[in-house]
Amino acid sequence: MESSSSTPQLLWFFAIAACVKLLLIPAYYSTDFEVHRHWLALTHSLPLSNWYADETSPWTLDYPPFFACFERFLSIFAHYIDPQIVDLHNGLNYRANSAIYFLRISVILSDLWLLYGVYRLTKNADVKRRYLIWVLIVWSPALVIVDHLHFQYNGFLLGWLLLSISFLQEGKDLMGGFLFAVLLCFKHLFAVAAPVYFVYLLRHYCWKGLVRGFSRLSVLGAVVVAVFAAAYGPFLYHGQIQQVFNRMFPFGRGLCHAYWAPNFWVFYIILDKVFSFFLKKFGFSIQIPAASFTGGLVGDSSPFAVLPKISPSTTLIMVLLALSPCFIKAWTNPQPRMVARWIAYAYTCGFLFGWHVHEKASLHFVIPLAIVAVQSLEDAKHYFMLSIVSCYSLFPLLYEAQEYPIKVLLLLLHSILMWLGFSTKFTRASAPNTTVTAKKKGAQSKSIESSSPAAEKGGFTIGWVGKSYLLGLLLVEIWGQFLHPYLLGDKFPFVPLMLISTYCAFGIMYSWIWQLRCIISTA
């Protein structure tokens, strides 16, 4: 319905967002900006065989080869704009306007790929649903904070993921699998969902009798192998493959990042602190480890005083365990409409139990979940909370005073839009007796809403638990921004951040449990 005319509207959504993003160009950017600038220079100046060997800057290339090729592609244009951007030595820490504008605009334009993914996902949806999904994804404040302020190319990468999901939802499994393999060669952190893909594709695509199934399995295998061969083959040829993997999987990083991502390990660390505190009180001699979490220094020695040390393999086992209900469901009842949920769930598990997780990784499940957020009232309520929590957990990324109003306003605006969108959608769905024409007038529909109690009962409301949780979020923010510096001054500078990640971890845990319950309960 109206699918042919939706492109200009989607482009309008994109253009509005792009205007705001353009205005944000002079804002703060993190070291990731220099990382990506350096990669442009590196891929432009060096032959392919040296990409992963170079050590000119501490920001060595640690993304898979396709992303390096993407940087190589961008560097062609960068060279035309200003050759110094892609100069390996003179370009180090180059901060001229040309570099900033070029890189920022490249992020804005690369979002077109995300837009294409969204377009493909929503082209068969009805108008209301489509608009809501666009608002949720194209105007996502988390993406603006991470990509356009902090500086990364997540929008582009998520575009591949959404495309893959859209093909899977249409039943075109081979294409979906192919796109996911490509995505893995852009950024290997997306591999968390690979087991889900594997189980689903094996069951839904290949499990069709012995001969047909086997031939399908070999086709799928060939496609995946071909993608990986295209990515890693050249490096294999140059004898660089070991170096590539060394760079892509740097061991020796700790369980948690300097700023703890709001995940399960936050509780683990806090439990450890509490235990050691009480054990010391009761007279046990406890050695407080030197590598404290709060200092941001995470070394090899165990950072825990009482609880057992966590190794990367432990986290892997925990992720797989958390994923197992999803495997069972995907195996017993492989349905295309559940794919988005399963993939999002996989990334949630990876986020909660993974090793050295960044807070930015929450995008990996928040964005795909937007697709299913409009399906039911419960989904909408869950997504509303999750989106706010995950966006709020990104706040510490922008710590400068200048960006403070921007991040707050972004979150506020998006929350209002979500609230308006969801409440309209679900008031409508639960009040079938109202006519479409009457609904179109804002004032009229308001009177209808207030006059029919049935509509209100089924409408979009967040219960008192949700409300008090969001209020708590506000309190955490007020404490961190105003009360803490005022009352305690420079003492305990880590407390506000710790509070944010702990508090948000509750929200993410809730989302995980909710998703798990939803996956288990669907027939």
Partner: protein, 475 residues
């Protein structure tokens, strides 16, 4: 700073109207009632403002005079450290050539309170003399909101008029006038509308007296410190009307500046006679719309009157600044629902006429982003594809040269688009270093004059309309 602020002020209104129009696809934004929609829009507008404030403000980091922002900061310093009477006087403590206070007392009071606030956080920034050129973030944020206040007061006054509360309106407008003397652009419309209304009362003299007392009373309260001697009052007034700066500055798209290409006003006449000529011209251009309002005051006519009188001032008054085009934009945005196309037209050329100014302040990127944002909001996808509901709402008078008009419009849009690019990429010939500014000015003046003519005609056609209606009623 001020320019951007006001422009965004306008943008915000555009938003309101854009959303109001698109009730077909945007009803989900409006169904919760005006409160939620307004909240949503104002948060968005605020976001845009904050984003723009990231860009360099005018005169950033360029000593010795810095720029508008430094002026605001300097005023805080002056008002905080000197007694009221010295604020407008050149003295040892107050060097008027360095950003002397040149806005009416209400602005000065405001500076004083902001200064108090700022002193609490950042005492260094307001200490007299030592703080010149002090640039920090806190200051930047607090000195951000000024132009909006007088515009806000004006909007409140207009709203009061529309809801038939004349006394409140005149009080509010007087406040606006004492905040920024630029509000005088609207004065003829207010005056004539209120006069016209009073004349229709049973007891016209009583009504006029009441309004007059309100205005005088408000003025007295605001200007109290300066009223005890004519000297002090005149001192303030001479600061407010800086005639020594000449009839026009830079390349502003008004009559004097444009015609100066042919007639060298500054050489032919003295400042004094120029004052007189410009005053006469302004009054003459205001007059038709004033007469119309006195004859038949109506809400719509009042809005047109505001537009016409501010146009008259922009085109013909003495010492107009580029950013003054924002003053006609305000009533135009209030009329935007009726006059969609002219509004877009005015917005386009209004922004365009400020383009050289913004370029000088290194605001090219925000200029284009905001311009695009406005065009996008104007052409928001909605049920009827962004077009006005009745395809040709304003061509009742001129449809015989309709096709010619379309052609001319398209041609001028195109050429101004090309001019944008030319202005950015090419250097003007050395003999005429301001060639492009002059061309931009010519185009914009032509457009503004056309629009002013059109809105005047429109306002008078309202009169015909209403008289015919009245006649019908009588019959």
């Amino acid at each position: 700073m001020g320019k951007k602020k006001e422009k965004k002020e306008i943008n915000e209104k555009v938003d309101v109207e854009a959303v109001e129009i698109e009730d077909d696809t945007w009803w989900w934004l409006t169904h919760k009632g005006i409160g939620a929609t307004f909240l949503c829009i104002s948060v968005f507008a605020l976001l845009v403002r904050v984003a723009v404030s990231l860009h360099p403000y005018s005169g950033a980091g360029s000593p010795p005079k810095f720029g508008d922002y430094e002026a605001q900061r300097h005023w805080m310093e002056i008002t905080l450290n000197l007694p009221v009477l010295e604020w407008y006087r050149n003295s040892t403590g107050n060097d008027l050539s360095y950003w002397g206070l040149d806005y009416p007392p209400l602005t000065a009071y405001q500076s004083y309170f902001h200064g108090l606030f700022l002193r609490f956080f950042d005492p260094d920034s307001v200490s007299l003399f030592t703080s010149r050129g002090y640039e920090t973030y806190v200051g930047l944020e607090t000195t951000d909101e000024y132009n909006c206040i007088s515009l806000g007061l004006t909007v409140a006054a207009i709203a009061a008029i529309l809801s038939q509360r004349e006394l409140l309106a005149s009080c509010l407008f007087t406040l606006a006038l004492s905040h920024k003397q630029m509000s005088v652009y609207y004065a003829p419309a207010f005056f004539s509308h209120l006069l016209g209304k009073c004349l229709r009362r049973k007891n016209p003299i009583h009504g006029v007296a009441k309004l007059g007392l309100t205005v005088l009373g408000t003025f007295t309260v605001v200007w109290w410190p300066y009223l005890h001697s004519t000297d002090a009052l005149l001192g303030v007034l001479s600061r407010l009307a800086p005639f020594e700066r000449g009839i026009y500055e830079d390349y502003v798209a008004n009559f004097w500046c444009t015609s100066s290409v042919i007639i060298k006003w500054k050489r032919l006449f003295s400042v004094h006679s120029l004052k007189f000529i410009s005053l006469t011209a302004t009054v003459l251009t205001c007059l038709p719309s004033m007469v119309q309002q006195v004859m038949a005051p109506s809400s719509r006519g009042f809005l047109y009157g505001l537009l016409n009188s501010s146009f008259a001032f922009y085109l013909f008054s003495f010492q107009v600044h580029e950013k003054s085009i924002l003053l006609p934009l305000l009533p135009a945005s209030l009329l935007a629902l009726e006059e969609r196309r002219p509004f877009k037209w005015l917005m386009f050329y209004g922004l365009f006429s400020m383009f050289p100014l913004l370029c000088r302040d290194k605001l090219v990127l925000p200029y284009f982003a905001l311009h695009a944002l406005f065009m996008l909001l104007y052409h928001a996808p909605c049920g009827h594809g962004g077009r006005p509901r009745n395809a040709r709402p304003n061509n009742t008078k001129f449809d015989y040269f309709d096709s010619f008009k379309t052609f001319m419009n398209g041609f001028i849009y195109l050429s101004s688009f090309i001019l944008h690019i030319v202005y950015l990429t090419m250097h003007p010939p050395e003999k005429f270093p301001y060639l492009f500014e002059a061309i931009i000015m010519l185009i914009c003046f032509y457009q503004f004059a056309l629009l002013a003519f059109y809105t005047n005609v429109k306002q008078w056609s309202l009169l015909e309309h209403s008289t015919t209606e009245e006649e019908k009623k009588l019959i």
